[in-house]
């Protein structure tokens, strides 16, 4: 018996195995083609722009482009003693072009960041360089200001030579490169970003904890009471979920203001003095209270869907075997709901860590988070590369949690409503 007779053939004479594989491949391509439009759309309008944040955040080509001849001449310079005449001459010729194009201001600002006092001597150079004579530029430039004789100023220029820099990332963790090229922390009183990262983390963790502490009991109630009551109570969870975020934030602004309902209530029950109403908004308290309420449905819904699957007879069995209600709850019910706790907590944490609107409106100065700082640098200081750097750092953190979420819960198990 040879192999050819063993093979099963389809009606058109192709081996069945081959034919099946072909059909399988065709099905794969068909399924993939359906996803392609969305995938392409997202790749172009979303994924690649996020990738571009990376180049934007490390981009430092400005000085490189402004002083091309200088850097060329500096290649041979060892950085120990004053650079040669050639470097001085190329710097002057580069600088003249910039002054002609009226873009020298940006260079001054950038170099001033690298070395204090650079901007003023460059401005002085503009006035004096008109009267410069041909040749021996080194001497003439030094005669403008004695700082040009200081080698550290020239080292500062050389430091800006690489077209890429991690300076923005260092700034985001309160560090910078000092004159000797070493990475050091900024002085104690000016460390603001580390504090902001820690506060963001703290708020996200506590909001997750609060939503868990409040969400667990009501999810349990919703899952155990008869359907007709639970449907009604479910509205209390779903209505805020569907209501505009700004509307919910607005209602907290009304409730928490000094003459607001919450303060009225505290005065009524005698908790606080009428003339001494506490400030509950425009600080971290407002951020906590509002964010917890806004994110609570995202905890309740996954918990509820898990608790629905826990059979009530398990608790009864536990009790009949002699467990007190507390013991049966702790040993039977709680372990069965941990997957829901994981899903809800990760979702709330991911959402809380990037929250922007609510902290910006009710957070004041002490209740703002890293997102607010990103928006500030995008809109006010226009330091877009710094905003991109902070955004990417936040993104890496969120993606790490997202990855854990995907491993533990599975992304296709997100429950909506």
């Amino acid at each position: 018996m040879n192999t050819e007779t063993k093979q099963i053939l389809t009606s058109d004479g192709i081996p069945l195995e081959k034919s099946l594989k072909k059909a399988e491949r065709r099905n794969k391509i068909k399924a993939f083609l359906l996803v392609v439009p969305l995938l392409l759309f997202l790749a172009i309008t979303y994924i690649s722009p996020i990738g571009e944040l990376l180049t934007r955040s490390v981009d430092d080509k400005m000085v490189t482009n402004m002083l091309p001849k200088t850097f060329k001449a500096m290649e041979k310079w060892d950085g120990q003693e004053l650079p040669s005449e050639e470097v001085f001459a190329s710097f002057l010729s580069d600088y003249k072009i910039l002054v002609k194009a009226k873009t020298q201001g940006k260079l001054g600002q950038r170099l001033n960041k690298e070395k204090n006092g650079f901007n003023s001597i460059l401005k002085k150079l503009i006035r004096k360089m008109k009267n410069f004579e041909e040749g021996n530029y080194k001497e003439q430039i030094i005669s403008v200001h004695k700082r040009f004789e200081d080698v550290s100023y020239w080292r500062a220029i050389k430091r800006t030579a690489p077209p890429y820099t991690v300076a923005k990332y260092l700034k985001a963790v309160d560090m910078y490169t000092d004159e000797n090229g070493e990475i050091v922390r900024v002085e104690e009183g000016r460390r603001i970003y580390i504090k902001l990262w820690l506060r963001t983390l703290q708020v996200a963790l506590f909001v997750t904890l609060f939503t868990f502490l409040m969400g667990y009991p009501i999810a349990h109630l919703l899952a155990t009471i008869p359907m007709k009551y639970s449907n009604l109570l479910m509205i209390c969870v779903l209505l805020p979920f569907w209501t505009s975020l700004l509307v919910r934030t607005a209602s907290w602004m009304i409730l928490l203001q000094q003459q607001g309902v919450v303060n009225d209530f505290f005065v009524m029950i005698g908790l606080v003095d009428d003339d001494n109403r506490p400030e509950m908004m425009y600080n971290i308290v407002g951020t906590y209270v509002a964010m917890t309420q806004i994110l609570l449905p995202f905890m309740v819904l996954p918990l509820y869907s898990v608790m629905k699957t826990v059979s009530p007879s398990l608790m009864r069995a536990g009790k009949s075997l002699g467990g007190t209600p507390f013991v049966s709850f702790w040993k039977i019910y709680f372990p069965l709901t941990t997957s829901g706790i994981g899903a809800g907590s990760l979702l709330v944490f991911i959402l809380a860590v990037g929250y922007y609107i609510t902290p910006a409106l009710v957070g004041g100065a002490s209740g703002t988070l890293i997102s607010n700082s990103i928006a500030y640098h995008m809109k006010q200081t226009l330091d877009w590369s710094f905003a991109s750097a902070m955004g990417l750092m936040l993104l890496v953190g969120v993606m790490a949690v997202y990855w854990i979420y995907n491993k533990l819960v599975g992304i296709d198990n997100i429950k909506l409503g």
């Binding site: 399924a31 996803v35 969305l38 979303y46 975020l245 607005a250 309902v261 609570l296």
Partner: protein
């Protein structure tokens, strides 16, 4: 939740503590929405319950803020509402088409790299909005679509598709594929099978995905803050400006309208969910 008569006292006490905790949480969840409603009918412009309102004096109430919202001089709400509706309408259509196609592909058992592709498609929902806003702004500025309706619509399609993908894949997870095979064996073309068999069965999922996409677009403020110019302010942008600068009762009138709208959407979504579960034979 009646307790059995043999319950010990300490568990009885614990049970009532548990119920009062639940009551407190439900009040915490829902009460803020009800503050808006009476204050939007306030007679004066302070956002506090005046003595007159506490006595339910009819003179303390008025509809002037609603009139101001609709007819007020140089008020921005008309333009904002028009823009919001246009943007949300087209963003919903775009999200539904792209999202449903992708969900159909993802639900096929032949789909390669399902996990990673799903993770990418859902990412706009997970990535913090501020990062999405910054990235989309840079992109739109580069292609010249910043401060245009088209730019905002495209941005909202990005943000809306994950919801459609999730809801439609959820509907398709209970989908009996033998019905499409039956149709094919009876000589139906794939297009006909989709229109006559698949689409009617997944409609509830598609519509609830559409509702999510619509609400996402209608409520979205972070990305629009980066993209919108003066001509394309939306309702959320105007609310944001109002809340930052000066909390006026007109905003509460708008907020009340939005709450009414979300209630209607919630009811629709719930009815659809139940219908879909009934169709798929799931009883919860």
């Amino acid at each position: 939740m009646a307790l059995p008569s043999y319950t010990e006292t300490r568990y009885r006490i614990w049970h009532y503590i548990y119920l009062s905790i639940c009551t407190f949480v439900f009040i915490y969840l829902i009460a803020p929405l009800f503050v808006i409603f009476p204050l939007s009918f306030s007679g004066d412009e302070f956002l506090i319950f005046s003595d007159g309102m506490k006595r339910l004096d009819p003179d303390a109430f008025s509809t002037r803020w609603y009139k101001d919202m609709i007819w007020g001089t140089k008020n921005p709400w008309g333009l904002a509402a028009k823009n919001s509706l246009i943007v949300a309408f087209f963003a919903t259509i775009g999200s539904v088409i792209l999202g449903t196609l992708a969900a159909l592909g993802l639900s096929s058992r032949h789909m390669p790299y399902k996990g990673i592709i799903m993770a990418i498609l859902i990412s706009p929902m997970i990535v913090p909005l501020i990062i999405s806003g910054v990235a989309i702004f840079f992109f739109m500025a580069k292609v010249g679509l910043a401060a245009t309706h088209t730019g905002i619509i495209l941005a909202h399609i990005i943000l809306g598709t994950p919801f459609v993908v999730i809801t439609v894949t959820a509907t398709l997870s209970g989908f009996d594929h033998s019905v499409t095979r039956a149709a094919a064996s009876l000589g139906s073309t794939p297009y006909n099978t989709f229109m006559k068999i698949t689409l009617p069965l997944i409609t509830p999922g598609v519509i609830s995905g559409a509702l999510f996409a619509f609400v996402t677009s209608f409520d979205e403020v972070v990305v629009v803050l980066f993209l919108a110019g003066l001509d394309n302010t939306t309702i959320p942008i105007q609310m944001w400006i109002g809340l930052r600068e000066q909390l006026s009762p007109t905003i509460l009138a708008v907020a009340t309208c939005l709450i009414v709208m979300s209630t209607l959407i919630l009811v629709t979504a719930e009815l659809l969910r139940r219908r879909s579960e009934r169709l798929r034979g799931i009883n919860r």
